[in-house]
Protein backbone atom coordinates (compact mmCIF):
# COMPACT_ATOMS: atom_id res chain seq x y z
CA UNK A 1 0.00 0.00 0.00
CA UNK A 2 2.84 2.42 0.75
CA UNK A 3 4.88 1.99 -2.40
CA UNK A 4 3.48 3.36 -5.60
CA UNK A 5 1.85 0.37 -7.25
CA UNK A 6 1.16 1.85 -10.66
CA UNK A 7 2.38 -0.16 -13.63
CA UNK A 8 3.60 2.07 -16.46
CA UNK A 9 4.77 -0.47 -19.00
CA UNK A 10 7.78 -2.77 -19.07
CA UNK A 11 10.32 -0.23 -20.39
CA UNK A 12 9.26 2.35 -17.86
CA UNK A 13 9.36 -0.19 -15.03
CA UNK A 14 12.90 -1.24 -15.97
CA UNK A 15 14.11 2.37 -16.13
CA UNK A 16 12.43 3.00 -12.74
CA UNK A 17 14.41 0.09 -11.34
CA UNK A 18 17.71 1.75 -12.16
CA UNK A 19 16.72 5.34 -11.45
CA UNK A 20 17.63 6.95 -8.16
CA UNK A 21 14.91 6.96 -5.50
CA UNK A 22 13.28 10.21 -6.46
CA UNK A 23 9.79 9.63 -5.19
CA UNK A 24 7.11 11.78 -6.64
CA UNK A 25 4.00 12.52 -4.67
CA UNK A 26 3.15 8.92 -3.92
CA UNK A 27 1.71 7.07 -0.98
CA UNK A 28 5.19 6.36 0.33
CA UNK A 29 5.90 10.11 0.33
CA UNK A 30 2.80 10.71 2.40
CA UNK A 31 3.73 7.88 4.70
CA UNK A 32 7.12 9.47 5.35
CA UNK A 33 5.48 12.87 5.96
CA UNK A 34 3.05 11.42 8.49
CA UNK A 35 5.81 9.52 10.28
CA UNK A 36 7.96 12.68 10.41
CA UNK A 37 5.01 14.63 11.75
CA UNK A 38 4.37 12.05 14.48
CA UNK A 39 8.04 11.91 15.43
CA UNK A 40 7.96 15.67 16.12
CA UNK A 41 5.08 15.35 18.60
CA UNK A 42 6.22 15.64 22.18
CA UNK A 43 6.02 12.41 24.18
CA UNK A 44 5.31 10.34 21.08
CA UNK A 45 7.11 7.31 22.57
CA UNK A 46 4.44 7.11 25.28
CA UNK A 47 1.52 7.97 23.01
CA UNK A 48 -0.89 5.57 21.37
CA UNK A 49 -1.46 5.84 17.63
CA UNK A 50 -4.73 4.24 16.54
CA UNK A 51 -4.65 2.97 13.01
CA UNK A 52 -5.11 -0.05 10.78
CA UNK A 53 -1.42 -0.01 9.93
CA UNK A 54 1.26 -0.72 12.50
CA UNK A 55 3.95 0.80 10.28
CA UNK A 56 3.17 4.36 11.49
CA UNK A 57 3.77 3.35 15.10
CA UNK A 58 6.90 1.36 14.33
CA UNK A 59 8.55 4.17 12.38
CA UNK A 60 7.51 6.96 14.73
CA UNK A 61 8.42 4.98 17.84
CA UNK A 62 4.96 5.28 19.38
CA UNK A 63 2.66 2.71 20.91
CA UNK A 64 0.00 1.21 18.70
CA UNK A 65 -3.73 0.61 18.97
CA UNK A 66 -5.13 -1.53 16.18
CA UNK A 67 -8.50 -0.95 14.57
CA UNK A 68 -10.07 -1.76 11.24
CA UNK A 69 -12.58 1.07 11.85
CA UNK A 70 -15.37 -1.50 11.68
CA UNK A 71 -16.34 -2.07 15.30
CA UNK A 72 -18.64 -0.69 17.99
CA UNK A 73 -22.35 0.13 17.88
CA UNK A 74 -23.99 2.16 15.08
CA UNK A 75 -25.05 4.74 17.68
CA UNK A 76 -21.50 5.28 19.00
CA UNK A 77 -20.01 8.77 18.97
CA UNK A 78 -16.46 9.18 17.70
CA UNK A 79 -15.12 9.48 21.24
CA UNK A 80 -16.97 6.31 22.24
CA UNK A 81 -15.52 4.57 19.23
CA UNK A 82 -11.89 5.48 19.91
CA UNK A 83 -12.31 4.59 23.58
CA UNK A 84 -13.62 1.19 22.36
CA UNK A 85 -16.56 1.49 24.75
CA UNK A 86 -19.08 -0.65 22.93
CA UNK A 87 -16.83 -2.93 20.95
CA UNK A 88 -17.72 -6.59 20.92
CA UNK A 89 -15.53 -8.86 22.99
CA UNK A 90 -14.08 -10.33 19.80
CA UNK A 91 -13.30 -6.94 18.21
CA UNK A 92 -11.58 -5.90 21.45
CA UNK A 93 -9.58 -9.12 21.48
CA UNK A 94 -8.46 -8.67 17.87
CA UNK A 95 -7.51 -5.05 18.62
CA UNK A 96 -5.60 -6.01 21.77
CA UNK A 97 -3.56 -8.82 20.26
CA UNK A 98 -2.50 -6.67 17.31
CA UNK A 99 -1.76 -3.57 19.38
CA UNK A 100 1.61 -2.77 20.91
CA UNK A 101 2.27 -3.35 23.77
CA UNK A 102 0.28 -6.55 23.38
CA UNK A 103 -2.72 -6.79 25.69
CA UNK A 104 -4.32 -10.21 25.25
CA UNK A 105 -5.99 -10.04 28.66
CA UNK A 106 -7.39 -6.53 28.14
CA UNK A 107 -5.60 -5.00 31.10
CA UNK A 108 -4.23 -1.76 29.63
CA UNK A 109 -7.41 -0.21 28.20
CA UNK A 110 -5.54 2.47 26.26
CA UNK A 111 -7.12 5.56 24.73
CA UNK A 112 -5.44 6.82 21.56
CA UNK A 113 -3.55 10.11 21.42
CA UNK A 114 -3.53 10.10 17.63
CA UNK A 115 -5.87 8.57 15.07
CA UNK A 116 -4.78 7.87 11.51
CA UNK A 117 -7.83 7.27 9.39
CA UNK A 118 -7.50 5.78 5.94
CA UNK A 119 -10.75 4.36 4.81
CA UNK A 120 -9.61 1.60 2.52
CA UNK A 121 -12.61 0.06 0.76
CA UNK A 122 -13.00 -3.68 0.94
CA UNK A 123 -11.33 -5.50 -1.88
CA UNK A 124 -13.77 -7.92 -3.51
CA UNK A 125 -10.91 -10.25 -4.38
CA UNK A 126 -9.66 -10.63 -0.84
CA UNK A 127 -10.51 -13.88 0.90
CA UNK A 128 -10.71 -12.06 4.26
CA UNK A 129 -14.15 -12.13 5.85
CA UNK A 130 -16.10 -8.96 5.27
CA UNK A 131 -17.85 -7.78 8.40
CA UNK A 132 -21.48 -6.72 8.13
CA UNK A 133 -21.92 -2.97 8.29
CA UNK A 134 -23.75 -2.72 11.65
CA UNK A 135 -20.85 -1.01 13.39
CA UNK A 136 -20.05 2.57 14.39
CA UNK A 137 -20.04 4.99 11.46
CA UNK A 138 -16.69 6.77 11.62
CA UNK A 139 -16.66 7.91 7.99
CA UNK A 140 -16.96 11.49 9.23
CA UNK A 141 -13.24 11.22 10.05
CA UNK A 142 -12.43 11.51 6.36
CA UNK A 143 -14.08 14.93 6.28
CA UNK A 144 -11.99 17.11 8.55
CA UNK A 145 -14.07 20.22 7.75
CA UNK A 146 -17.24 18.67 9.06
CA UNK A 147 -18.65 20.68 11.96
CA UNK A 148 -19.90 17.52 13.63
CA UNK A 149 -16.36 16.46 14.44
CA UNK A 150 -15.82 16.53 18.21
CA UNK A 151 -13.86 19.54 19.45
CA UNK A 152 -11.11 17.35 20.94
CA UNK A 153 -10.18 16.05 17.45
CA UNK A 154 -7.44 18.34 16.15
CA UNK A 155 -6.49 17.78 12.55
CA UNK A 156 -2.76 17.43 11.98
CA UNK A 157 -2.57 16.15 8.43
CA UNK A 158 -4.85 15.57 5.51
CA UNK A 159 -4.10 14.16 2.10
CA UNK A 160 -6.30 15.10 -0.83
CA UNK A 161 -4.78 12.31 -2.86
CA UNK A 162 -5.18 9.29 -0.58
CA UNK A 163 -7.77 10.70 1.86
CA UNK A 164 -5.58 9.79 4.83
CA UNK A 165 -6.35 12.04 7.80
CA UNK A 166 -4.33 12.31 11.01
CA UNK A 167 -5.93 13.64 14.20
CA UNK A 168 -4.45 14.51 17.53
CA UNK A 169 -6.90 13.61 20.29
CA UNK A 170 -7.06 15.97 23.22
CA UNK A 171 -8.18 14.57 26.52
CA UNK A 172 -11.70 15.62 27.48
CA UNK A 173 -11.73 17.33 30.88
CA UNK A 174 -14.49 15.88 33.08
Amino acid sequence: MFYDDSFDGITSEISKLFSSKNYERTTVMEFIEIVDLLKKQSGIENSYVMSTHVQYAYHSGSKFLYTDFRAGEPSDSLNEFIERKNWSEYDLYISNIHSYPRDKHDLLKPVPDYVIYDNIPYDDNTPWYQKPSNHADVSILSNSDNEELPSNFEILYKSDQTQIVVYKIHKIEN
Binding site: Y3, K21, I32, V54, Q55, Y90, I97, K104, P127
Partner: protein, 443 residues
Protein backbone atom coordinates in the same frame (compact mmCIF):
# COMPACT_ATOMS: atom_id res chain seq x y z
CA UNK B 1 49.84 -27.85 13.88
CA UNK B 2 50.61 -30.00 10.84
CA UNK B 3 47.25 -31.71 11.25
CA UNK B 4 45.49 -28.33 11.21
CA UNK B 5 47.33 -27.27 8.04
CA UNK B 6 46.56 -30.48 6.21
CA UNK B 7 42.92 -30.34 7.28
CA UNK B 8 42.55 -26.74 6.03
CA UNK B 9 44.26 -27.75 2.74
CA UNK B 10 41.84 -30.64 2.48
CA UNK B 11 38.89 -28.32 3.07
CA UNK B 12 39.99 -25.86 0.42
CA UNK B 13 40.51 -28.76 -2.02
CA UNK B 14 36.96 -29.98 -1.34
CA UNK B 15 35.61 -26.45 -1.79
CA UNK B 16 37.56 -26.02 -5.04
CA UNK B 17 36.25 -29.32 -6.30
CA UNK B 18 32.70 -28.27 -5.36
CA UNK B 19 33.04 -24.99 -7.32
CA UNK B 20 34.54 -26.74 -10.34
CA UNK B 21 31.81 -29.39 -10.36
CA UNK B 22 28.92 -26.97 -9.92
CA UNK B 23 29.90 -23.83 -11.83
CA UNK B 24 26.56 -23.22 -13.52
CA UNK B 25 24.30 -23.69 -10.48
CA UNK B 26 26.63 -21.46 -8.47
CA UNK B 27 26.50 -18.76 -11.16
CA UNK B 28 22.67 -18.96 -11.26
CA UNK B 29 22.58 -18.71 -7.46
CA UNK B 30 24.99 -15.74 -7.50
CA UNK B 31 22.90 -13.90 -10.11
CA UNK B 32 19.81 -14.48 -7.98
CA UNK B 33 21.58 -13.31 -4.83
CA UNK B 34 23.00 -10.08 -6.28
CA UNK B 35 19.77 -9.14 -8.09
CA UNK B 36 17.72 -9.65 -4.95
CA UNK B 37 20.35 -7.92 -2.83
CA UNK B 38 20.12 -4.87 -5.10
CA UNK B 39 16.32 -4.70 -4.87
CA UNK B 40 16.25 -5.45 -1.14
CA UNK B 41 18.84 -2.92 -0.08
CA UNK B 42 18.69 -0.19 -2.74
CA UNK B 43 14.97 -0.02 -3.53
CA UNK B 44 13.14 -1.57 -0.60
CA UNK B 45 14.23 0.88 2.06
CA UNK B 46 11.21 1.27 4.32
CA UNK B 47 9.83 -1.53 6.47
CA UNK B 48 6.25 -1.73 5.30
CA UNK B 49 5.57 -5.43 5.85
CA UNK B 50 2.92 -5.45 8.59
CA UNK B 51 3.46 -9.13 9.42
CA UNK B 52 7.21 -8.64 9.79
CA UNK B 53 6.70 -5.77 12.23
CA UNK B 54 4.03 -7.82 14.03
CA UNK B 55 6.51 -10.63 14.69
CA UNK B 56 9.30 -8.20 15.59
CA UNK B 57 7.05 -6.65 18.25
CA UNK B 58 6.26 -10.14 19.56
CA UNK B 59 10.02 -10.67 19.95
CA UNK B 60 10.34 -7.46 21.95
CA UNK B 61 7.47 -8.58 24.19
CA UNK B 62 9.24 -11.90 24.73
CA UNK B 63 12.37 -10.17 26.02
CA UNK B 64 10.29 -7.68 28.04
CA UNK B 65 8.81 -10.65 29.90
CA UNK B 66 5.36 -9.97 28.48
CA UNK B 67 4.92 -13.24 26.55
CA UNK B 68 1.74 -14.16 28.43
CA UNK B 69 0.08 -11.10 26.87
CA UNK B 70 0.89 -12.21 23.31
CA UNK B 71 -1.66 -14.22 21.39
CA UNK B 72 0.34 -16.27 18.95
CA UNK B 73 -1.25 -16.38 15.52
CA UNK B 74 0.15 -18.23 12.55
CA UNK B 75 3.63 -18.87 13.89
CA UNK B 76 5.41 -19.70 17.15
CA UNK B 77 7.82 -17.37 18.89
CA UNK B 78 10.94 -18.58 16.99
CA UNK B 79 11.28 -15.85 14.37
CA UNK B 80 10.21 -13.02 16.71
CA UNK B 81 13.00 -14.06 19.07
CA UNK B 82 15.53 -14.12 16.21
CA UNK B 83 14.37 -10.67 15.04
CA UNK B 84 14.67 -9.22 18.54
CA UNK B 85 18.10 -10.80 19.15
CA UNK B 86 19.43 -9.46 15.84
CA UNK B 87 17.97 -6.07 16.70
CA UNK B 88 19.83 -6.13 20.02
CA UNK B 89 23.06 -7.14 18.30
CA UNK B 90 22.99 -4.85 15.27
CA UNK B 91 20.24 -2.32 15.97
CA UNK B 92 18.76 -2.72 12.48
CA UNK B 93 15.78 -5.09 12.67
CA UNK B 94 14.55 -4.32 9.15
CA UNK B 95 17.93 -4.97 7.55
CA UNK B 96 18.44 -8.08 9.67
CA UNK B 97 15.03 -9.48 8.73
CA UNK B 98 15.63 -8.75 5.03
CA UNK B 99 19.05 -10.40 5.19
CA UNK B 100 17.52 -13.55 6.64
CA UNK B 101 14.99 -13.63 3.79
CA UNK B 102 17.68 -13.00 1.18
CA UNK B 103 19.92 -15.77 2.54
CA UNK B 104 16.94 -18.14 2.73
CA UNK B 105 15.89 -17.38 -0.87
CA UNK B 106 19.44 -17.97 -2.04
CA UNK B 107 19.62 -21.29 -0.19
CA UNK B 108 16.37 -22.36 -1.86
CA UNK B 109 17.73 -21.55 -5.33
CA UNK B 110 20.97 -23.43 -4.69
CA UNK B 111 19.44 -26.45 -2.99
CA UNK B 112 16.73 -26.81 -5.67
CA UNK B 113 19.54 -27.83 -8.04
CA UNK B 114 20.92 -30.50 -5.73
CA UNK B 115 17.47 -31.90 -4.89
CA UNK B 116 16.64 -32.35 -8.56
CA UNK B 117 20.11 -33.67 -9.33
CA UNK B 118 19.50 -36.39 -6.74
CA UNK B 119 16.48 -37.53 -8.74
CA UNK B 120 16.81 -36.68 -12.43
CA UNK B 121 20.42 -35.68 -12.99
CA UNK B 122 22.20 -32.48 -13.97
CA UNK B 123 20.22 -31.26 -16.99
CA UNK B 124 16.77 -31.41 -15.41
CA UNK B 125 18.34 -29.96 -12.26
CA UNK B 126 19.60 -26.87 -14.08
CA UNK B 127 16.21 -26.26 -15.69
CA UNK B 128 14.52 -26.68 -12.31
CA UNK B 129 16.93 -24.28 -10.69
CA UNK B 130 16.27 -21.63 -13.35
CA UNK B 131 12.49 -22.06 -12.96
CA UNK B 132 12.86 -21.64 -9.18
CA UNK B 133 15.21 -18.66 -9.54
CA UNK B 134 12.82 -16.70 -11.77
CA UNK B 135 9.73 -17.30 -9.64
CA UNK B 136 8.23 -13.89 -8.76
CA UNK B 137 6.93 -15.05 -5.37
CA UNK B 138 10.40 -16.19 -4.38
CA UNK B 139 11.69 -12.77 -5.47
CA UNK B 140 9.05 -11.02 -3.38
CA UNK B 141 9.83 -13.03 -0.27
CA UNK B 142 13.60 -12.77 -0.72
CA UNK B 143 13.47 -8.98 -0.57
CA UNK B 144 10.82 -8.76 2.18
CA UNK B 145 11.32 -8.57 5.92
CA UNK B 146 8.75 -11.30 6.55
CA UNK B 147 8.59 -14.42 8.65
CA UNK B 148 8.18 -16.76 5.68
CA UNK B 149 11.30 -17.84 3.82
CA UNK B 150 13.51 -19.07 6.64
CA UNK B 151 11.14 -21.88 7.59
CA UNK B 152 10.53 -22.72 3.92
CA UNK B 153 14.29 -22.83 3.22
CA UNK B 154 14.72 -25.29 6.10
CA UNK B 155 11.87 -27.46 4.79
CA UNK B 156 13.25 -27.41 1.25
CA UNK B 157 16.75 -28.21 2.56
CA UNK B 158 15.28 -31.33 4.18
CA UNK B 159 14.10 -32.39 0.69
CA UNK B 160 17.76 -32.78 -0.27
CA UNK B 161 18.21 -35.60 2.24
CA UNK B 162 14.75 -36.99 1.54
CA UNK B 163 15.53 -37.46 -2.16
CA UNK B 164 18.84 -39.26 -1.70
CA UNK B 165 19.08 -42.64 -3.38
CA UNK B 166 19.96 -44.43 -0.19
CA UNK B 167 18.45 -43.05 3.02
CA UNK B 168 20.81 -43.58 5.95
CA UNK B 169 20.17 -42.95 9.62
CA UNK B 170 22.21 -39.73 9.39
CA UNK B 171 19.81 -38.48 6.69
CA UNK B 172 16.84 -39.01 9.00
CA UNK B 173 18.68 -37.23 11.80
CA UNK B 174 19.45 -34.24 9.55
CA UNK B 175 15.87 -34.15 8.22
CA UNK B 176 14.58 -34.22 11.80
CA UNK B 177 16.87 -31.34 12.78
CA UNK B 178 15.95 -29.20 9.75
CA UNK B 179 12.23 -29.80 10.14
CA UNK B 180 12.45 -29.28 13.91
CA UNK B 181 14.16 -25.93 13.35
CA UNK B 182 11.56 -25.03 10.76
CA UNK B 183 8.79 -25.95 13.22
CA UNK B 184 10.20 -23.39 15.66
CA UNK B 185 9.53 -20.73 13.01
CA UNK B 186 6.32 -22.09 11.47
CA UNK B 187 4.20 -25.03 12.59
CA UNK B 188 3.69 -26.35 9.03
CA UNK B 189 6.86 -28.46 9.27
CA UNK B 190 4.94 -31.06 11.26
CA UNK B 191 2.92 -31.82 8.11
CA UNK B 192 6.15 -32.75 6.38
CA UNK B 193 6.88 -35.25 9.15
CA UNK B 194 3.46 -36.77 8.54
CA UNK B 195 4.15 -36.98 4.79
CA UNK B 196 7.57 -38.56 5.27
CA UNK B 197 6.23 -41.13 7.73
CA UNK B 198 3.48 -42.08 5.26
CA UNK B 199 6.13 -42.43 2.56
CA UNK B 200 8.29 -44.64 4.78
CA UNK B 201 5.39 -46.88 5.69
CA UNK B 202 4.27 -47.48 2.12
CA UNK B 203 7.57 -47.50 0.22
CA UNK B 204 8.17 -51.24 0.75
CA UNK B 205 7.13 -54.13 2.97
CA UNK B 206 9.91 -53.76 5.54
CA UNK B 207 7.48 -52.40 8.11
CA UNK B 208 9.67 -52.82 11.18
CA UNK B 209 12.70 -51.28 9.46
CA UNK B 210 10.69 -48.32 8.20
CA UNK B 211 8.96 -47.85 11.55
CA UNK B 212 12.41 -47.60 13.14
CA UNK B 213 13.45 -44.88 10.63
CA UNK B 214 10.16 -43.06 11.31
CA UNK B 215 10.92 -43.28 15.01
CA UNK B 216 14.37 -41.73 14.53
CA UNK B 217 12.88 -38.92 12.46
CA UNK B 218 10.09 -38.17 14.93
CA UNK B 219 12.41 -38.36 17.94
CA UNK B 220 14.99 -35.97 16.43
CA UNK B 221 12.21 -33.66 15.23
CA UNK B 222 10.59 -33.32 18.65
CA UNK B 223 13.94 -33.03 20.41
CA UNK B 224 14.96 -30.17 18.10
CA UNK B 225 11.57 -28.48 18.43
CA UNK B 226 11.41 -29.01 22.20
CA UNK B 227 12.42 -25.44 23.19
CA UNK B 228 9.28 -24.08 21.51
CA UNK B 229 7.08 -26.89 22.81
CA UNK B 230 8.32 -26.37 26.37
CA UNK B 231 8.04 -22.56 26.11
CA UNK B 232 4.48 -22.80 24.79
CA UNK B 233 3.49 -25.25 27.47
CA UNK B 234 5.01 -23.20 30.28
CA UNK B 235 3.57 -19.91 29.05
CA UNK B 236 0.24 -20.90 27.54
CA UNK B 237 -0.27 -24.44 28.88
CA UNK B 238 -0.45 -25.68 25.30
CA UNK B 239 2.64 -26.98 23.48
CA UNK B 240 1.17 -26.05 20.08
CA UNK B 241 -0.23 -22.65 21.09
CA UNK B 242 -2.01 -20.95 18.21
CA UNK B 243 -5.35 -19.23 17.77
CA UNK B 244 -6.70 -21.40 14.95
CA UNK B 245 -10.16 -19.88 15.36
CA UNK B 246 -8.73 -16.55 14.14
CA UNK B 247 -8.05 -17.93 10.67
CA UNK B 248 -11.34 -19.79 10.49
CA UNK B 249 -13.25 -16.63 11.36
CA UNK B 250 -11.15 -14.38 9.17
CA UNK B 251 -10.92 -16.58 6.09
CA UNK B 252 -13.67 -19.15 5.78
CA UNK B 253 -15.78 -18.45 2.72
CA UNK B 254 -18.97 -19.94 4.15
CA UNK B 255 -20.05 -18.71 7.58
CA UNK B 256 -23.24 -17.99 9.49
CA UNK B 257 -23.82 -15.70 12.50
CA UNK B 258 -24.39 -18.59 14.98
CA UNK B 259 -21.20 -20.32 13.91
CA UNK B 260 -19.21 -17.04 14.12
CA UNK B 261 -20.47 -16.43 17.62
CA UNK B 262 -19.57 -19.93 18.83
CA UNK B 263 -16.15 -20.01 17.14
CA UNK B 264 -15.19 -16.56 18.46
CA UNK B 265 -15.66 -17.99 21.96
CA UNK B 266 -13.53 -21.06 21.22
CA UNK B 267 -10.13 -19.38 21.05
CA UNK B 268 -8.52 -21.81 23.47
CA UNK B 269 -9.89 -24.88 21.70
CA UNK B 270 -8.07 -27.06 19.22
CA UNK B 271 -8.84 -27.70 15.59
CA UNK B 272 -10.92 -30.83 16.25
CA UNK B 273 -13.36 -28.93 18.50
CA UNK B 274 -13.59 -26.16 15.92
CA UNK B 275 -14.42 -28.70 13.22
CA UNK B 276 -16.98 -30.48 15.38
CA UNK B 277 -18.79 -27.21 16.11
CA UNK B 278 -20.41 -27.51 12.68
CA UNK B 279 -18.92 -30.39 10.67
CA UNK B 280 -21.11 -29.72 7.65
CA UNK B 281 -20.01 -26.08 7.41
CA UNK B 282 -16.40 -27.14 7.89
CA UNK B 283 -16.71 -29.76 5.12
CA UNK B 284 -18.27 -27.18 2.83
CA UNK B 285 -15.32 -24.84 3.39
CA UNK B 286 -12.74 -27.63 3.25
CA UNK B 287 -13.86 -28.93 -0.14
CA UNK B 288 -14.16 -25.40 -1.48
CA UNK B 289 -10.57 -24.73 -0.38
CA UNK B 290 -9.32 -28.05 -1.73
CA UNK B 291 -11.06 -28.01 -5.09
CA UNK B 292 -11.29 -24.34 -5.95
CA UNK B 293 -9.65 -21.67 -3.82
CA UNK B 294 -6.23 -23.18 -3.11
CA UNK B 295 -5.65 -24.70 -6.57
CA UNK B 296 -6.30 -21.27 -8.02
CA UNK B 297 -3.50 -19.90 -5.83
CA UNK B 298 -1.26 -22.64 -7.19
CA UNK B 299 -2.02 -22.54 -10.90
CA UNK B 300 -3.96 -19.37 -11.68
CA UNK B 301 -7.54 -20.37 -12.35
CA UNK B 302 -8.40 -16.69 -12.40
CA UNK B 303 -6.21 -15.32 -9.59
CA UNK B 304 -3.16 -13.25 -10.45
CA UNK B 305 -1.46 -14.05 -7.13
CA UNK B 306 -0.33 -17.59 -7.90
CA UNK B 307 2.67 -19.92 -7.98
CA UNK B 308 2.32 -21.01 -11.60
CA UNK B 309 5.41 -21.05 -13.79
CA UNK B 310 3.49 -18.63 -16.07
CA UNK B 311 1.79 -16.47 -13.41
CA UNK B 312 -0.18 -14.09 -15.67
CA UNK B 313 -1.52 -16.81 -17.98
CA UNK B 314 -4.41 -18.81 -16.46
CA UNK B 315 -4.27 -22.64 -16.48
CA UNK B 316 -1.09 -22.93 -18.61
CA UNK B 317 1.19 -23.67 -15.63
CA UNK B 318 -1.19 -26.43 -14.57
CA UNK B 319 -1.05 -28.08 -18.00
CA UNK B 320 2.76 -28.21 -17.97
CA UNK B 321 2.77 -29.68 -14.44
CA UNK B 322 0.20 -32.33 -15.43
CA UNK B 323 2.14 -33.31 -18.57
CA UNK B 324 5.35 -33.53 -16.54
CA UNK B 325 3.51 -35.65 -13.96
CA UNK B 326 2.10 -38.02 -16.61
CA UNK B 327 5.62 -38.48 -17.95
CA UNK B 328 7.01 -39.06 -14.44
CA UNK B 329 4.49 -41.83 -13.74
CA UNK B 330 5.24 -43.36 -17.16
CA UNK B 331 1.61 -43.40 -18.22
CA UNK B 332 0.66 -46.16 -20.63
CA UNK B 333 -2.50 -47.72 -21.99
CA UNK B 334 -3.09 -50.30 -19.28
CA UNK B 335 -5.73 -50.89 -16.60
CA UNK B 336 -4.65 -47.81 -14.61
CA UNK B 337 -5.83 -45.61 -17.47
CA UNK B 338 -9.26 -47.21 -17.25
CA UNK B 339 -9.26 -46.77 -13.50
CA UNK B 340 -8.46 -43.08 -13.97
CA UNK B 341 -11.29 -42.74 -16.52
CA UNK B 342 -13.66 -44.43 -14.07
CA UNK B 343 -12.45 -42.10 -11.31
CA UNK B 344 -13.18 -39.14 -13.56
CA UNK B 345 -16.71 -40.41 -14.28
CA UNK B 346 -17.47 -40.99 -10.58
CA UNK B 347 -15.98 -37.61 -9.59
CA UNK B 348 -18.00 -35.87 -12.31
CA UNK B 349 -21.19 -37.49 -11.05
CA UNK B 350 -20.40 -36.48 -7.47
CA UNK B 351 -19.56 -32.91 -8.44
CA UNK B 352 -22.66 -32.47 -10.57
CA UNK B 353 -25.14 -34.15 -8.21
CA UNK B 354 -23.76 -33.51 -4.72
CA UNK B 355 -21.23 -30.72 -5.16
CA UNK B 356 -21.09 -27.53 -7.14
CA UNK B 357 -19.08 -27.21 -10.34
CA UNK B 358 -18.09 -23.64 -9.52
CA UNK B 359 -16.69 -24.70 -6.12
CA UNK B 360 -15.30 -28.15 -6.95
CA UNK B 361 -14.13 -27.94 -10.56
CA UNK B 362 -10.56 -28.90 -9.69
CA UNK B 363 -11.73 -32.31 -8.41
CA UNK B 364 -12.56 -33.32 -11.99
CA UNK B 365 -8.86 -33.33 -12.87
CA UNK B 366 -7.19 -33.71 -9.49
CA UNK B 367 -8.95 -36.89 -8.31
CA UNK B 368 -8.31 -38.91 -11.52
CA UNK B 369 -4.67 -37.75 -11.52
CA UNK B 370 -4.33 -38.70 -7.87
CA UNK B 371 -5.81 -42.15 -8.52
CA UNK B 372 -3.52 -42.53 -11.51
CA UNK B 373 -0.55 -41.56 -9.31
CA UNK B 374 -1.52 -43.98 -6.54
CA UNK B 375 -1.88 -46.87 -8.99
CA UNK B 376 1.46 -45.95 -10.57
CA UNK B 377 3.44 -45.66 -7.33
CA UNK B 378 5.77 -48.46 -8.41
CA UNK B 379 6.53 -46.70 -11.69
CA UNK B 380 7.47 -43.39 -10.05
CA UNK B 381 11.21 -42.99 -9.61
CA UNK B 382 12.12 -44.27 -6.15
CA UNK B 383 13.52 -41.01 -4.81
CA UNK B 384 10.87 -38.82 -6.46
CA UNK B 385 8.13 -40.72 -4.63
CA UNK B 386 8.69 -38.98 -1.24
CA UNK B 387 8.24 -35.55 -2.86
CA UNK B 388 5.05 -36.78 -4.52
CA UNK B 389 3.62 -38.13 -1.26
CA UNK B 390 4.66 -35.11 0.81
CA UNK B 391 3.06 -32.77 -1.77
CA UNK B 392 -0.22 -34.69 -1.66
CA UNK B 393 -0.25 -34.62 2.15
CA UNK B 394 0.40 -30.87 2.09
CA UNK B 395 -2.30 -30.17 -0.49
CA UNK B 396 -4.87 -32.09 1.57
CA UNK B 397 -3.86 -30.72 4.97
CA UNK B 398 -3.42 -27.09 3.93
CA UNK B 399 -6.97 -27.11 2.56
CA UNK B 400 -8.18 -26.70 6.15
CA UNK B 401 -7.65 -22.98 5.56
CA UNK B 402 -8.04 -21.00 2.34
CA UNK B 403 -4.53 -19.79 1.53
CA UNK B 404 -4.77 -16.02 1.29
CA UNK B 405 -1.34 -15.69 -0.29
CA UNK B 406 0.04 -18.05 -2.91
CA UNK B 407 3.45 -18.11 -1.25
CA UNK B 408 1.97 -20.12 1.60
CA UNK B 409 2.50 -23.02 -0.81
CA UNK B 410 6.06 -22.08 -1.66
CA UNK B 411 7.53 -25.42 -0.54
CA UNK B 412 5.53 -26.96 -3.40
CA UNK B 413 7.60 -24.84 -5.77
CA UNK B 414 10.26 -27.56 -5.81
CA UNK B 415 8.10 -30.55 -6.89
CA UNK B 416 6.13 -28.38 -9.34
CA UNK B 417 9.31 -26.89 -10.81
CA UNK B 418 10.73 -30.41 -11.24
CA UNK B 419 7.57 -31.46 -13.11
CA UNK B 420 7.82 -28.33 -15.27
CA UNK B 421 11.44 -29.19 -16.03
CA UNK B 422 10.46 -32.72 -17.01
CA UNK B 423 7.91 -31.16 -19.33
CA UNK B 424 10.54 -28.87 -20.88
CA UNK B 425 13.33 -31.46 -21.08
CA UNK B 426 11.41 -34.65 -21.88
CA UNK B 427 7.86 -33.99 -23.06
CA UNK B 428 8.24 -30.87 -25.18
CA UNK B 429 11.06 -32.18 -27.41
CA UNK B 430 9.11 -35.40 -28.09
CA UNK B 431 6.02 -33.36 -28.90
CA UNK B 432 7.96 -31.12 -31.30
CA UNK B 433 9.63 -34.17 -32.89
CA UNK B 434 6.24 -35.80 -33.50
CA UNK B 435 4.84 -32.61 -34.96
CA UNK B 436 7.78 -32.37 -37.37
CA UNK B 437 7.32 -36.00 -38.35
CA UNK B 438 3.64 -35.40 -38.97
CA UNK B 439 4.48 -32.47 -41.23
CA UNK B 440 6.98 -34.61 -43.13
CA UNK B 441 4.38 -37.36 -43.62
CA UNK B 442 1.85 -34.82 -44.91
CA UNK B 443 4.35 -33.33 -47.32
Amino acid sequence: MNDLKSSSKNNSRILNHFFQENKLPIIITAIFFFSMFYIAFVHHTIWIEQDGIYYYFNGNEFFDGNSHNIQIIGAPIGTPVIYAVLDNLFGMPFEAAKSLSLISGTVIVLISYFITKNIFGVKVAIITQIIVAVNPKLHLLSISALNELMSIALIISSFYFLTKNELRNSDFVLMGILLGLSFMLRYQAILLILGIVIFLLIRNRKIRYNALKSGILILVFFTTASPILVFNYMTYENPMENDTSFYLLALFQFQNPEWRESISEMREEGLISLILEDPYLFAQNYFYNLFSHNPSKLFNFGVLDNLSVFPPIPVLGFITVVLGFLYAIKISKDKTTWIAIAAFAITALLVFFIGDLHQHYFALVFIPLLILGIFSLKKIQKNFLPLFIVSIVLIFSLAIIPAYRSYHFLFLLIPFSILNSIFIYEVLPKFVYRLKNLEKVRN
